[in-house]
């Protein structure tokens, strides 16, 4: 563990859109760090600097080891985007299947033995021949972890490594990290203090930096930064007082939330209150001989808030996509949604108008470049991007949501330049903006920091209190339970 990394008054620029200023930080031999902070403060950016990302504008960065292993949502999204892009240009009539999992893991692998062991431990063996981009969110994350761990890194950077993993996998990963802690220095970005492994020795706290006024910018350069962050303080974990204060800081709660009204001019068709919102009868999903969902009966009545849980690969997202109409096999199942028996000439947009939806996959698919305000307004149209002119009233409501999220100054900034957590908050607003009869939140807190997690959960509780929206909530974390949810459905893994 002979590393010594020094950041001296370092300022780093990320594609002229984000800036880290005046970083002073030393990572000495024998230390393991956690980086934490508010959404948009540059936690992930700081970690990425250690992986050689960003342009150094001043100061110095020394002692970076040659082989750095990096696992992050950004890197995961990039890899997925790359895989999806491979599919983009087939002019001819062929279905591109994408890179298989075994190729993603074993091509250019430094330690195939370890990789093999981890594949088994993580239960990925049955998926080795499947296309990487067909995997679930949790499964792709496991592939990322295996790639990094088996690359024989001199420094391991794990940005939210535990998010999206089920309990069994999480324990396994924590044990593995403990076993290598003596030989590999680690820097972790964590939003949850309770996930901090014991071997962590130091904590770094990041904070947002107020942007200079436009006037001041003009004099310096033409850059249009959407955010900037700094390393606000570092804490030795043995210093109990300081450690506790940091914990408090992250738990700051916002008060007095109220949800903006719906738009009276874009009123949805009335639903018959005596009929269920959703009724699945003996619903099944199969790929070839592999059964993902087996004969599921499920009825959601108006006003019944549900929590759906189950390990990675148990088909949670598949079940949801039967309801939303995104799964092609919704046409071969007995599904009744919002007054429609599926497969009788209704269009998918007639179904989607009743649903608000948030998931990690949606965030990855939301790759169009549009403004933050338009992302919220697109919720009125169930579209990704905007293809219709919005009304003044819709714009007004979007402004109210931006204010609620504390993002009023970002209204016209491009969505894809925001941090991961800020993007998520906007997508939740997008889902809620039309006050849908059914709001589906597929792991809505994935990748959010403590403060924003509290904000989101408080928002969901508010929605649950109201009469008009029924909430369907999917989450791994037992502690993220929501007041007002009284119905539970647990899915088991079939294969």
């Amino acid at each position: 563990m002979g590393i010594a990394i020094h950041l001296d008054d370092l300022s780093v620029n990320f594609d002229d859109r984000f800036q880290l200023n005046n970083l002073n930080w030393s990572i000495e031999a024998g230390q393991h760090w956690v980086v934490t902070g508010t959404n948009g403060s540059g936690k992930s950016a700081l970690a990425a600097v250690l992986a050689g990302v960003g342009k150094i504008e001043q100061g110095s960065l020394s002692g970076l080891p040659s082989n750095v292993g990096l696992v992050s949502f950004e890197a995961q999204a990039e890899l997925i985007a790359k895989e999806l892009k491979k599919d983009d240009a087939d002019i001819m009539d062929v279905i591109s299947l994408g890179t298989p999992v075994h190729e993603m893991i074993f091509d250019q692998c430094q330690d195939p033995e370890l990789a093999q062991e981890l594949v088994e431990k993580f239960g990925l063996t049955p998926l080795l021949d499947r296309a990487f981009r067909k995997l679930s969110t949790g499964e792709t994350r496991k592939v990322m972890l295996i790639r990094a761990l088996s690359s024989k890194p001199n420094l391991l950077i794990l940005d939210e490594p535990f998010d999206g993993l089920d309990a069994g996998t999480l324990t396994m990963l924590q044990e593995h990290l403990i076993s290598i802690a003596d030989t590999v220095p680690m820097v972790m970005v964590l939003n949850r203090f309770d996930e901090m492994p014991d071997f962590i020795t130091h904590v770094a706290y990041m904070d947002k930096v107020a942007l200079e006024s436009k006037e001041a910018h003009k004099h310096r350069s033409e850059k249009k930064l959407s955010g900037a962050g700094k390393l606000a303080l570092t804490v030795d974990k043995n210093d109990e007082q300081a450690f506790h204060e940091l914990y408090q800081l992250l738990h700051l709660k916002t008060t007095d939330l109220s949800v903006p009204e719906a738009d009276p001019s874009t009123k949805l068709p009335d639903l018959d209150p005596s009929q269920p919102l959703v009724r699945l009868k003996q619903a099944s999903i199969k790929y070839g001989d592999t059964v993902i969902v087996d004969k599921l009966d499920w009825t959601i009545e108006p006003g019944q808030h549900w929590q759906l849980s189950g390990p990675n690969g148990s088909g949670k997202t598949c079940v949801l996509s039967l309801i939303t109409g995104d799964h092609p096999q919704c046409y071969t199942n007995d599904i009744f949604v919002f007054g429609f028996q599926r497969g009788n000439g209704e269009s998918i947009w007639q179904i989607k108008q009743f649903i608000g939806y948030v998931s990690t996959a949606l965030q990855w698919e939301y790759r169009v470049s549009t403004s933050c305000k338009n992302v919220i307004i697109s919720g009125f149209y169930d579209s990704i991007g905007m293809y219709t002119k919005s009304t003044d009233n819709q714009k007004k409501i979007a402004d109210q949501w931006l204010e609620l999220l504390g993002m009023k100054d970002r209204a016209d900034q491009p969505f894809n330049k925001l941090s991961y957590g800020d993007q998520r908050l906007l997508l939740i607003a997008r889902a809620m903006v039309k006050h849908p009869p059914l709001l589906i939140l597929d792991e809505p807190c994935l990748g959010l920091d403590d403060m924003n997690r509290q904000l989101v959960l408080a928002l969901i509780e508010k929605i649950c209190e109201g009469k008009e929206t029924t909430v369907l909530y999917v989450n791994h974390h037992a502690e993220d339970q929501i007041k007002g949810i009284e119905y539970y459905l647990g899915l088991k893994k079939n294969n």
Binding site: D88, I95, Q329, G345, E365, S371, D382, G385
Partner: protein, 490 residues
Amino acid sequence: MANYFNTLPLREQLAQLAKCRFMDSSEFSDGVEALKGKKIVVIGCGAQGLNQGLNLRDSGLDVSYTLRAEAIAEKRQSWKNATENGFVVGTYEELIPTADVVLNLTPDKQHTPVVKAVMPLMKQGACLSYSHGFNIVEEGMQIREDLTVIMVAPKCPGSEVRAEYVRGFGVPTLIAVHEDNDPKGEGLALAKAYAVGTGGHKAGVLMSSFIAEVKSDLMGEQTILCGMLQTGSILCFDKMVEEGIDAGYASKLIQYGWETITEALKYGGVTNMLDRLSNPAKIKAFDLSEELKVIMRPLYNKHQDDIINGTFSRVMMEDWANDDANLLKWRAETAETNFEKTPAGDVEISEQEFFDNGILMVAMVKAGVELAFETMTAAGIIAESAYYESLHETPLIANTIARKKLYEMNATISDTAEYGCYLYNHACLPLLGDFMKGIKTDVIGKGLATDDNGVDNARLIEVNAALRSHPVEAIGAVLRGHMADMKKIV
């Protein structure tokens, strides 16, 4: 079967070639009504077949798939594609007699046997839809008089047709009605409803004719789109290596260079692509392209003439009948070129460097786009069609080269395009031999060796004016404007 186009009088040929109109969104207010409750049966389940079917079904339409009995018995990929997505799949005998609309989404080469097999099974008064007019126009397929024949062709790969629909949008789409087969006068209504069902009406629909589609599509794909990029790749690579530039670098500059420079073309036409160069480099690229246009114009004319009079399709169909002997030989030769065999080096090339060090490539794209456009419009094809089949599609093809070089391009385009590409390449390589002797690394590989960016004012004004006043730029500005209106906020 005789070439249909050649049976028409000149007046009718010209009228058909000149058909292409950007439709107003108000023309789609009936939505999918004309197809509601009708039984749609798709033949073939490749990327277009599958993804169009998914969209049509999500638009509330009744879609099923018919495959050849062997494909079903052997559970081939097409069978899997359809069944895993929850579609009913059956043989021609089972499904075609029940169909109100049959969508033929098989490759060109199979059209004659497929149509001959399904036509006798089709219901009286049903509709047969194509996504490419080759079978009707070039092969002269005669369709039963009671059947309506239409064409609906999304101008994007199948995967994108689906991805854009799911986002709530669509891809630009060309529609046409075969006037000899429109007994009930419902062809246009069906084609419009089909375009709505795939989401195409949101991105823009061109109303064209079978003839305009075939004659412009063939010309575009074999000259600028595939032929020019293949020839340019081979010539530029060999020149750089001959001049001592690292082969890995040369390979990378070309493989990713076409994609990068044509991205600029996509956003702002030839003008914007040239505007990415420094002033001295822009003038250099302009001069080179003028020279290239003079040398290559007879070749573009020949391709267009052969396409218009049917020589091209006749010769190609002779090769089909000869087990694709020429096609396969040329495909093997392409795999053996030095460019194809040299992997892209592990060097960083910035976006701007692709322009600065690829002046000749920019000149080749400009010359190819303008020549293809000029030749098509001179042959009576309307500017809208000529634009879509030249400039608009160039970035799509360039993307395939970025993925896996010429192999990928030729594997993903249709056999018809691939055949035409090789024809062009074989004629163009020797044609540019003398021209290439005068080429040095300042225009391909290293960039202009000058610290002085000065140029003569008068010359720069001339060059800029020439770029901006080319007719492909005028129509391009209008059509990109339509697209931007529709995609305004994105």
